[in-house]
Structure formats: C-alpha cells, structure tokens
C-alpha cells in the first residue's frame, strides 16, 4: 500500500511538499481519484490527496465569480451554483463512465487536466474560465497568480499555465472561476441520416450563424441512425425563434427530431461523457483537430482498424475507440494527425499500453525544450507527478 498524505490545509500541503523535496519522495497528486487512468502510467513513492483541502471560499453570484479549494467536489459546486441559476460554463466531462471509476471528481483535478465539455466551442474551456490560482510549487513555496476578476494582465499569466499542467508544475490549493448563467431553456435539434461530410457542413453552418449554438455533435451509429445534434439555448421565446431560424437554414428535407427536458439532458450528458464507449476497456483516443479535417482523418483512422468514433465540437473533437491494445496503432494515429495538424491523446489504455506509448503527443522540439525548462523551474527535483505528462526526459 502506498503512503498517502492528506494535508488538511494549504500550509500543511506546503510542508509536505517541502519535506518530500528534501527526502526526494515522488508524489502522485490525487483529487477524487476518478481520472487515475489519464496520463502516462507512472509509479511514485507516495500519494498526495487533496480531499481534505475542500470547501467554497467565496461565491459572488452578482459578479459571476466562485473561489473554491482544490479538493471541492464538482457535485458540491454544481449544487451551489444551480441555486443561483448559474453554472461552470465549460461544463467539464465526467470521466467515470469511460474509466469505470468511482468517487467524486474535484475542481482542482478538472483544472489541472483542463477538462471541458461540449460547450467548449462557445463558452471556452476550463482554462478560459480560470481567473486565479494558488498553488504549491515543487520547492514547497506557496504561489498565487491572477485573482478573482475577469480581466487581469498584471504580470505573467501563470493561471493559464497551471490549467492542463497535470500537477507537474505545482499542486493547486485554490482556484477562482468565472461562471455563466444557466439558460432559461434548452433543447436539441437533431437531424437524422446525414453523412459525416454533410454533418460537418451542417454544424459549421450552425456555428457560423448568429444563433449561439452551445453544442454541435455527430453520432454516426446512434440507434442505427446517424444523428447530427445541435443544442439551442436561451430565453424561452428566444429558443423558439432560434429553432425556427436554424431549421430554415439547415434542414433540407431530412428527418428531424426535437428533444427537450430529460431526454435532451441525457443526450448531451452522454456526448460530454463519451458514454458511447463506456462499456469497454478498448483504447480510446481523443483528437483535437481543425473541424473540416474530420472526414479525412476519420477515413484514415478507419484504415488502421475498425475504429468507432463520435464527433463533438462541430467535428473539432474526435473520440475514436480502436480495437486492439497495440502500440503500432498508436503510432499510426500519431502519423495521421501529423499530416493534418492538431493533436491526439490516448485517454484510455491499459497500464501496459500507456507504459510504452506517449499518452500526450510529443511536442515540436523547441516547444518541448521550453516546456521542459519550465517544469525544471517549477519543480526542480521532479517530485510532482513525474513522467505523467512525458516530454520532460523523465521517462
């Protein structure tokens, strides 16, 4: 059994890291433990759990601002925000379905991994909502950056840097977030039977319209029929108006469905959490690409193996489940993405696969050098989640 540290506050957290550095003990940072499969497979001397550093520090609904300690669960945050008709605009994906994991996802981990959902295309990602951080670097120093205001250009923006750094630059103790109001009403406009090419063009047109689509996804094999799904939101009458306008713009004789209420919510939760691939342990890839490249990339992926795919972000995000635990397939995915631009992450794979395959796409040499030197400055002894992101010569 690994040693587990569970500091009760930021000061104790800093002490533990200071001591870990002097004793050269490597730490795996853990929030709710629902995403332990995300990142390179690593072994550390101990686990550092943030579960006791939890609670809302400040919530100002009239300023659309929330400050929460890193170990606060998303469940608690969502419950609080809902009471005031607000939400996290980036609508983070819940990984429990694809990892078959349990526990409660925490805000610190979501920020550390820059987890967003389908609203990313309009509302921005976790990194866009993040306006302030407090963290402990690998030397045990407490560092703050940003604050709790939406506009801030005071010094270098380490806030964004911390988002998506997977704990390799420091352990977040507190985060400040910009919020959004929950729309009064939302519904789905679903167009059935489109090809991928057609769906990409439909979604592109929808996002190129002034009707503020908050979700655009293509599910090729949903109940034997391809579905192009658009989420429409707004004030009640506005939703009617937008639905009418979008139908006129996009639907040319195809069969459509309108979903509202529970079924609508379930659909978008399923898209966000990639539930299409929940009952499986097969390798699952996440490709961030230029939306119009989706058909060509999809075509090439299908040549590697019988890949199953769904498309979010109007085609800019492909979730591809491959058939086999095979590092040659991983190389093939990376080879494809190289031709088009963008990047591919192996989100789900066995420990063995993730031991031999870079989970994150290797960076351009000069960029990798920059990243590596930043890591060196923030965590000079390399004790925080060593190897988790790779690219730092630690593997």
């Amino acid at each position: 059994m690994d040693k587990i540290f569970s500091p009760k506050d930021e000061a104790e957290l800093a002490q533990i890291i200071t001591k870990a550095k002097s004793d050269n003990i490597s730490l795996r940072i853990k929030g709710g433990g629902t995403r332990q499969g995300l990142g390179n497979f690593i072994k550390t001397d101990a686990i550092l759990s943030l579960k006791n550093i939890s609670g809302i520090s400040l919530y100002e609904p009239d300023a659309l601002t929330l400050v929460a300690k890193a170990g606060t669960s998303i469940k608690e945050i969502n419950k609080l925000l809902k009471k005031e008709g607000q939400r996290l605009g980036f609508d983070p994906m819940d990984h429990r379905a694809i990892y078959h994991s349990s526990g409660e996802p925490t805000i610190g981990a979501i920020i550390a991994a820059n987890i967003s959902g389908s609203r990313r295309i309009i509302a921005g990602g976790a990194r866009d909502a993040l306006i302030g951080v407090r963290f402990i670097n690998g030397s045990g120093e407490i560092i703050k950056n940003g604050g709790r205001v939406m506009k801030n250009v005071t010094g270098l923006d380490l806030v964004k840097l911390m988002a998506g750094s997977f704990g390799t630059l420091g352990v977040l103790s507190e985060v400040s977030l910009k919020l959004l109001p929950i729309a009064q009403r939302e519904l789905s406009l679903i167009i059935n039977g489109q090809s991928l090419e057609k769906a990409i063009s439909t979604m592109s047109k929808a996002l190129g319209s002034p009707f503020e689509i908050t979700g655009a996804a293509f599910l090729p094999n949903e109940k034997d029929e391809a579905k192009t799904c658009l989420r429409i939101e707004g004030f009640s009458s506005q939703v009617d108006y937008r639905l009418k306008k979008l139908s006129e713009l996009l639907v040319k004789g195809e069969k459509i469905e309108i979903l509202e209420g529970k079924l609508h919510e379930k659909l978008w939760q399923s898209i966000r959490d990639v539930k299409t691939f929940k009952n499986s342990k097969k390798p699952l890839w996440r490709l961030s690409i230029k939306p119009s490249d989706a058909p060509a990339i999809s075509n090439q992926l299908s040549k590697i193996t019988a890949a199953d795919m769904i498309f979010d972000w109007a085609g800019g995000l492909i979730w591809a489940q491959l058939q086999d635990e095979d590092n040659a397939q991983a190389d093939a995915v990376r080879h494809i993405i190289k031709q088009f631009g963008g990047h591919a992450t192996l989100v789900r794979g066995s420990d063995e696969l993730r031991e031999v395959v870079d989970v994150f796409q290797p960076e351009q040499e000069m960029v990798a050098k920059l990243s590596s030197s930043i890591r060196q400055k923030f965590d000079p002894s390399g004790i925080l989640n060593p190897n988790l992101m790779g690219n730092f010569g630690e593997k």
Partner: protein, 486 residues
C-alpha cells in the same frame, strides 16, 4: 521629477552603435533599418507620452525569418530589443531605452488565411485589430476583442497586453480568442504553438504568451478565433443620482441571468465633459450606465424589458431606450468619445485597475476621497460588467510637480483596487507605469516564479527587460545580458 525611472543605458552598447546598425543593415533590406534621429522620433514613446527616449535604432521586418535574423544578431551583440505594435500602449510597454532597438510590427500586415468554415483567421501580427474584423465581416463574422484603440492598435500589441474592450463581458479577452501563434524566441528560434484546432498541446504556452508584454518572444503570426456576427444590438441608457445605486443595478442585471455584451459606466465629470465635446445629450446625473444586448429585435426587446424592470425598481433619474440606429449611435457617441473629451479639459493618466463587481461602489467612493486629498480631479469611465475601472487622473503635463502628484494618486487608487481583491491592470499591462507597484499585488516568490518563466524563454533578458517587474528585483537578471554579450 517623475517617479518612474529607467535603467541607465549601457555605455558599451552605445559605443558600438554604428557596428550594431551596420550588422542590422547587413541582414535586412535597407529600408527596414531606421536610425536617423529625425526618423526614430516617432518611436520615442507610446501612448504614455510623459516618458520618451530615442532608441538606438528601429527595425521594421516584413516576415518571421527577418525577425529571427534580427533576434540572432541582437543576441550576438547583446542589444536589448523592445517590441512595438502600433505604440498605443498606455503603460509604457513600448518605451525604448537609449541602448535598445525597437522592433516594430508595422510591416507585418498580411492576412494569411481566412477560414469561415472553421471560424478562424490567420494574420501577420502587425495588422490592426479593426482590420481583422474588416477582413471577415463581409462573411458575417467578427473578431471579438475590441479595445478602444482598435482603429490603430496591432494584434501583436493586443496579444502582448491581452487586450479586452467593451464587449469582453460576453466574449472574453484576447487570451480567449487566440488559437495559435508563430513566435520568434530571443535566440531567433521559431516556434509554432496551437493552430486551427482548440486547446493547444502540452503546457498552455499560448496562455503564457498572452499578456507577456513582449517579454517572452516576438509573435509574428496568429490564428484568431472569429465569431458569427449577432443579428443586431441595442443599448439602453440608465442614469442614477448615486453611484452606489448604479453599482447595485449592474449586480442585479447579472444576477438575473442576463449577460449583456457591454455594461459601461460614466460619472458626472465624464458626462459633462463628453456632452460638451460630442453633444450626445446625456442627462445630468451622478452615474450613467449604458447596457447593450444582442440578438434579433424580439430577443433584444425581451432582454431590454427585463433590464428596464430591474433598473426601474431602483428609481433611475433617467432611462432612455433607443428606437432606431441613430438613437443607439447617440447613446454610444458620448461614451466612445469620452477619453478624447476628458483630454480636452486637461492631460490625464488613464489607469485600468480591476475590482470585483461587488466592490465597485466602495472603490468609487475611495477614489472620490483620494481625489479630494490630492486635490486633483478624477473622471471615471469604465467597463462595469467586469469591474475593469478606468480612472482618468486630470493634471497639467507641463508641471512636473503635478505629474508626480498624479502618479502618487494613481498608485494609491491601484493599491485600493488590489486591497479589495482586484488587480493593478485589467487590460493595459504593467509596462513601466505599474512596475514598482507589483509588490502590492505579488510577493517576491510570486514574481520570482514569473521571472523564472521569462528565464526559460529569454535566458539573457534581451526582450523588453526593464518592464513589468520592479527594477531592483530584475536587476541581477538584466545584468546577464551584459555578461553574455561578446
């Protein structure tokens, strides 16, 4: 005497002026190197005009390769480089020193790619903010960040200062709209980060670069996110006799779940000044709000009705709706000319401390008290929805004593912003203006961490070295350049 000092120029660089200019001329077309005093005059200052200095030379490259060659040469010769967009910085971000060269983006003006299907535009970074929207509006798109200098300011400067504007309550600032860059590092290496896809790979270096005030590299090309233009927009004007009530009104609107594209605030001094200047016909009130919403006519009506209901509960002294484009333009006319109008009364220092929206009324009160204490007038005109204040401190630029007094007043106002949970600068940047105030917001460890990031990108502190961090704190790092120079 003013309170902001710049480091003494390095005599060993000045002694080599002709050698340095010759080296630059060797790698660039002859018209890309400017060094005659009469021609470098235009580059002596940015919009913080109280501070001027002529640079050793100005270089105006036309592409990434030329920028790379310049950086290699400057590193070899140990010459600091001050990047400059259009020079509209209000914080002295583009102020040169005698021993530095200015690298201007003025000639990097190509639009490289427009892709409305994938909703981005790729440009060279010398293009102006407004021309980006200009390039795509025919297709029904726009580029969201809209700093008030948008007619002149360059995308390079927008990225360097993470510029915002009136509409960022809804659309965010530059960092939320930048998808990728081509950047030249201090040693001339060219890196590409991000692109036409969302969420760049690895550490969020794009996020770091945005707002780095030209200290990490020279961004030569950028992928910018473009958005579909809304069907329409319409403002409502609301006046109150008390700033506090105006503050409450802003909070109530946001709390009601409405997200206006803009909520602008003007105080009495600004109202009087702008009215004289622009003839907008603003009412005689203590606090004036302009709230703008977007959508179809029906959508706008719905939102405005909600806003008006909220505003009416607080007994406004004046409430004006717009019934036509002309009336909308009239409502905005005064606000858009506010800075120019205040400039007609006196010279001013424009600050942009940002505070939590809940603290707006309190901070306005404090500014009023400080204004009396220093016996200098302060006009307030700002983006209320996001707490980004713009106190304009009125003073006489020909009186050095008054400049110093104005700067002290400004420092006190900014400290107040930080004390209530805000920050020194929301969108103008630190530059030289707020450099020494950084200690009020950040500990030495905080700044050490930030400076260590600059060390990774620019180990010799070649790029814009005397900016952002207190001179004393950056001293040893700035010495690196002298030690490293051959």
């Amino acid at each position: 005497m003013s309170t902001i000092v710049m480091p003494e120029p390095d005599q060993s660089i000045l002694d080599r002026s002709s050698e340095i200019i010759a080296a630059l001329k060797e790698i660039l077309p002859h018209d890309a190197v400017i060094f005659e005093k009469s021609e470098t005059l235009a580059y002596e200052c940015d919009a913080l005009v109280a501070y001027r200095c002529s640079p050793l030379a100005v270089v105006l490259p036309r592409n990434t390769q030329e920028v790379s060659a310049i950086m290699k040469t400057c590193l070899r010769l140990g010459v600091p480089v001050v990047p400059r967009g259009s020079g509209t910085s209000l914080a002295g971000g583009a102020l040169p020193t005698k021993d530095s060269i200015i690298l201007g983006t003025n000639r990097l003006t190509k639009v490289l790619e427009i892709d409305t299907d994938n909703r981005f535009i790729k440009v060279q970074t010398g293009v102006t903010n407004l021309s980006v929207t200009g390039a795509v509006e025919g297709d029904g798109f726009f580029y969201a960040p809209d700093p008030s200098s948008q007619l002149a300011c360059a995308i390079a400067g927008n990225i360097a200062m993470n510029s915002g504007g009136a509409h960022c309550l809804k659309y965010g600032v530059t960092t939320n709209n930048l998808m990728g860059v081509t950047m030249v590092l201090a040693d001339g290496e060219i890196v590409e980060i991000g692109g036409a896809h969302l969420d760049a790979l690895g550490y969020d270096l794009l996020g770091l670069i945005c707002g780095s005030e030209g200290q990490l590299g020279i961004v030569t090309e950028a992928y910018l996110r473009i958005l579909a233009k809304p069907e329409g927009a319409r403002p409502v004007l609301i006046g109150y006799d008390d700033p506090r009530t105006a503050g409450t009104c802003v909070a109530d609107i946001i709390k009601a779940g409405i997200l206006p594209v803009a909520i602008e605030y003007m105080d009495r001094l600004t109202i009087v000044a702008t009215d004289k200047f622009s003839g907008a016909g603003y009412p005689d009130v203590e606090a004036l709000l302009i709230v703008e919403v977007e959508g179809s006519d029906e959508e706008i009506d719905y939102q405005l009705n909600k806003i008006i209901k909220i505003a009416n509960k607080l007994n406004p002294a004046e409430l004006r709706q717009s019934n036509s484009e002309e009336e909308s333009a009239l409502i905005w006319k005064g606000r858009k000319s506010a800075f120019g109008a205040v400039g007609q009364i006196a010279d001013y220092i424009c600050l942009d401390g940002t505070v939590p929206v809940s603290q707006l009324a309190y901070v306005l009160g404090e500014i009023g008290d400080l204004s009396k204490k220093y016996d200098l007038q302060v006009a307030n005109v700002f983006h209320a929805g996001d707490g980004n204040m713009h106190p304009l401190i009125l003073y006489n630029a020909n009186d050095p004593v008054e400049l110093e007094k104005a700067e002290h007043l400004g420092a006190d106002i900014l400290r107040t912003c930080v004390e209530v949970g805000g920050c020194l600068t929301g969108e103008h940047g630190v530059g030289i203006e707020k450099r020494e105030l950084m200690t009020s917001q950040y500990s030495n460890e905080d700044m050490e961490m930030q400076m260590s990031v600059k060390d990774c990108f620019d180990p010799n502190w070649l790029l814009n070295p005397a900016k952002v961090y207190p001179l004393e704190l950056s001293e040893s790092r700035r010495q690196n350049l002298k030690m490293g120079a051959k």
